[in-house]
């Protein structure tokens, strides 16, 4: 019995020592995975996921604290990409964080705007220009459609307008699989 204890103790000490050495020698600083996750996220900084911005959400995913299906602007596509990167199963967008909407930009009704600057402070990507007591305008090309400017507006003069289809952003559609229909 004593021998058994000795053998196991000896083994533990040696192996424990080796592990301790390795954990010092191979210490990892930082987490490059966060960058990769962040690169997939749509950068709307909308906070619908429950985290203050895309990067914090990325950090939470990397740590395993958040699920991969909490980002409505990223949509199913984004979830697929995250699932791929992390080797997890795909799961549909969780409803509690919102639904996938068509890409939109904010448009300020310039006749109603009172120039309060609240939306300018809310915009995470500085896509709204204007000064105090002067009407504001959204720079459409920079707007991510995060909707964060809607709530602060005291006069409700901001609308989300879906981006219209033009020759420039028109896409070829997925071909219909004709065989599914009775032929």
């Amino acid at each position: 019995m004593l021998e058994a204890l000795l053998v196991m103790a000896l083994g533990s000490v040696i192996l424990g020592g080796a592990l301790g050495y390795a954990s010092v020698k191979f210490r990892v600083e930082g987490d490059p995975l966060v960058e990769k996750i962040d690169a997939i996220l749509p950068q709307t900084q909308c906070g619908q996921c429950g985290f203050p911005g895309c990067k914090p959400y990325a950090e939470a995913i990397a740590k395993g604290e958040a699920d991969i299906n909490c980002c409505p602007p990223g949509g199913e596509d984004g979830i697929h990409k995250l699932a791929d990167l992390l080797g997890r199963e795909f799961k549909p967008l969780s409803g509690e964080h919102g639904v996938e909407k068509p890409k939109s930009t904010a448009v300020i009704d310039e006749n109603v705007c009172i120039g309060c600057t609240l939306c300018i402070q809310a915009c995470p990507v500085d896509a709204i220009v204007g000064a105090a007591k002067q009407m504001h305008t959204v720079v459409a090309s920079q707007c991510t459609g995060c909707e964060l400017c809607l709530a602060p507006c005291p006069v409700n003069c901001i609308d989300m307008v879906p981006i219209p289809e033009t020759i420039d952003n028109w896409k070829w559609k997925y071909p219909v699989f004709a065989v599914q229909k009775a032929a």
């Binding site: 895309c54 596509d77 995470p124 990507v125 500085d126 920079q142 559609k173 071909p175």
Partner: protein
């Protein structure tokens, strides 16, 4: 005799050229209203120069280049500008786009034309003139020609290839042009070669156009130019730019590279003709030759003004009653016109009326059995069935790994597929989806930068504010300590005023 290199794959559909290449060229009548789209070339749309009510002369610029890869657009006739309106244009989407609408006055009065001696002017000046004359590639892609005559420091243009292959079935406009205007084509080609700095001109013509080959050879001998006219074997898509370069020189230009990287450049014969008109005659590009054929009573080639409604043009050829669709371009790479309201544009080489009998609906689409017919037919040596497999399942990254973007959408794979899969449709879908995603990613990157910049700025402002307050507090304290009791009140009031001002200033937002 130049050795020919050929290319792998390709198909041989019935050519149907004789229907439309027997007669001469008919000049289409002037329509009462011309609709000239502002976007006609690859690259950026043109910028309008006229307003509603302006009177314009035939050949007057109505739009200028909208960027570095863009050209001018000209009034096809004299008349009054009705306005810049959104109007259907020939595009597979059927979407509307801004067009300059001109009401013709019937006089058809030219603006003053200034022919130039191209060999007396600096090359840069010639390029500018080419751009301002609105010359774009007339083979179908409508890429600004003046851009193609330039080359980067690591590139060179030694051989200028003139594309007269016209491999698509039904289309004969280049054939007719070569038969009737061989001299002008070669003059234009010589000018293009001069601008590009090319030493050689090689003309590639499919050997099913012996008249065109003869006319071009004769013209070359007459002009005493160093031009080689080569008959290339008839096999679709021999007229694809990459395929023709390969057949004539053996050079393969891969995706992501340009012909000048390999010392060659390729122009369509009609582009060379347009160049001659623009520089040697001072006539900007306001009309072109269009083949109208297919399910029509009187197929033929028409000289048509840009902006002519396609419906008007089609009427000249008398479409048959059972016509159920009209294509712009050939049956292999063209597209079904969503509406005949759209006008003829610079890229319109053919209007092809089709019927159920001409283009019978293929049988039901079956699953791919990986038979490899498509791979054998592919002139780009791709594996279309692998690209299809992943495009269909929307696994776009994998599709891209199989060189999706090398696909030239020539349609050979779809043509031969025993399962009648519209392979090219899947590739077009996958390509435009990938491009859209790349754009989204760029936008996301930009948004990330702006967001990070904002966070940084907020942080900095917070620190500055804290530092200022701390400094103020220290100052006040010091003053209090120095001044003693008498000045106490004064100092405190001053400090409070300063603070108030500070706060006021703070309230002003960061202004862009």
């Amino acid at each position: 005799m130049r050795p020919l290199f050929g290319f792998t794959g390709g198909v041989k559909p019935a050519s149907h050229k004789t229907e439309s290449n027997q007669g001469g060229i008919v000049v289409a009548p002037l329509p009462p209203v011309l609709t000239v789209p502002l976007r006609q070339n690859a690259g950026l749309a043109s910028r309008p120069l006229v307003q509603a009510g302006d009177r314009v002369l035939k050949g007057q610029a109505i739009a200028g280049p909208g960027g570095s890869i863009s050209v001018a657009i000209h009034a096809p006739t004299s008349g009054t500008v009705r306005g810049i309106e959104t109007h259907p244009i020939p595009h597979p989407s059927g979407l509307l786009a801004p067009c300059v609408v001109i009401e013709a006055d019937g006089e058809d009065r030219w603006i003053e034309r200034t022919p130039v001696d191209p060999y007396a002017l600096p090359v840069e000046e010639l390029r500018t003139r080419l751009r301002d004359a609105g010359v774009v590639g007339l083979g179908g892609a409508a890429f600004p020609s003046f851009v193609k005559t330039q080359h980067g420091p690591t590139q060179r243009i030694e051989t200028l290839i003139l594309n007269g292959a016209e491999c698509e079935p039904f289309i004969t406009c280049d054939d007719l042009l070569m038969r009737t205007q061989a001299g002008q084509i070669l003059d234009g080609a010589a000018v293009l070669a001069h601008i590009a700095g090319a030493q050689r001109i090689v003309v590639g013509i499919e050997d099913n156009k012996p008249e065109a080959v003869a006319a071009m050879t004769a013209a070359a001998q007459r002009a005493g130019l160093l031009v080689e006219v080569v008959a290339v074997p008839t096999r679709y898509p021999a007229g694809g730019e990459k395929q023709l370069i390969r057949v004539l020189t053996g050079i393969e230009v891969p995706f992501g590279k340009l012909p000048p990287d390999y010392g060659v450049q390729c122009f369509n014969v009609a582009t060379a003709y347009a160049t001659a008109r623009a520089l040697l005659h001072g006539e900007p590009m306001i009309s072109r030759l269009v083949t109208v054929t297919g399910n029509v009573e009187r197929p033929g080639n028409f000289e048509v003004r840009i902006g002519t409604p396609i419906a008007d043009l089609l009427k000249l050829a008398e479409p048959k009653a059972d016509t159920d669709r009209n294509l712009m371009g050939g049956p292999m790479m063209g597209f079904a016109l969503p509406t005949l309201d759209a006008p003829v544009i610079k890229a319109t080489n053919c209007i092809l009326a089709g019927s159920k009998a001409m283009f019978p609906a293929p049988g039901p689409e079956m699953p791919c059995i990986r038979c490899g017919s498509c791979a054998r037919a592919c002139p780009m040596d791709l594996q279309p069935f692998e690209m299809y497999w992943f495009s269909r399942a929307k696994i776009l990254g994998k599709a891209q790994e199989y060189h999706l973007f090398d696909c030239i959408e020539c349609g050979c794979c779809t043509y031969v597929c025993p399962s009648r899969i519209p392979l090219v449709d899947y590739f077009r879908f996958a390509k435009s989806e990938i491009r859209a995603r790349e754009k989204e990613n760029e936008a996301a990157d930009a948004a990330r930068q702006r967001y990070e910049f904002r966070l940084e700025r907020e942080e900095r402002e917070k620190q500055e504010k804290a530092a200022k307050l701390a400094a103020k507090a220290a100052e006040t304290k010091a003053k209090l300590a120095q001044a003693g009791d008498a000045d106490d009140k004064k100092a405190l009031i001053a400090a409070a005023v300063a603070r108030a001002q500070e706060q006021k200033a703070e309230e002003k937002p960061g202004v862009e």
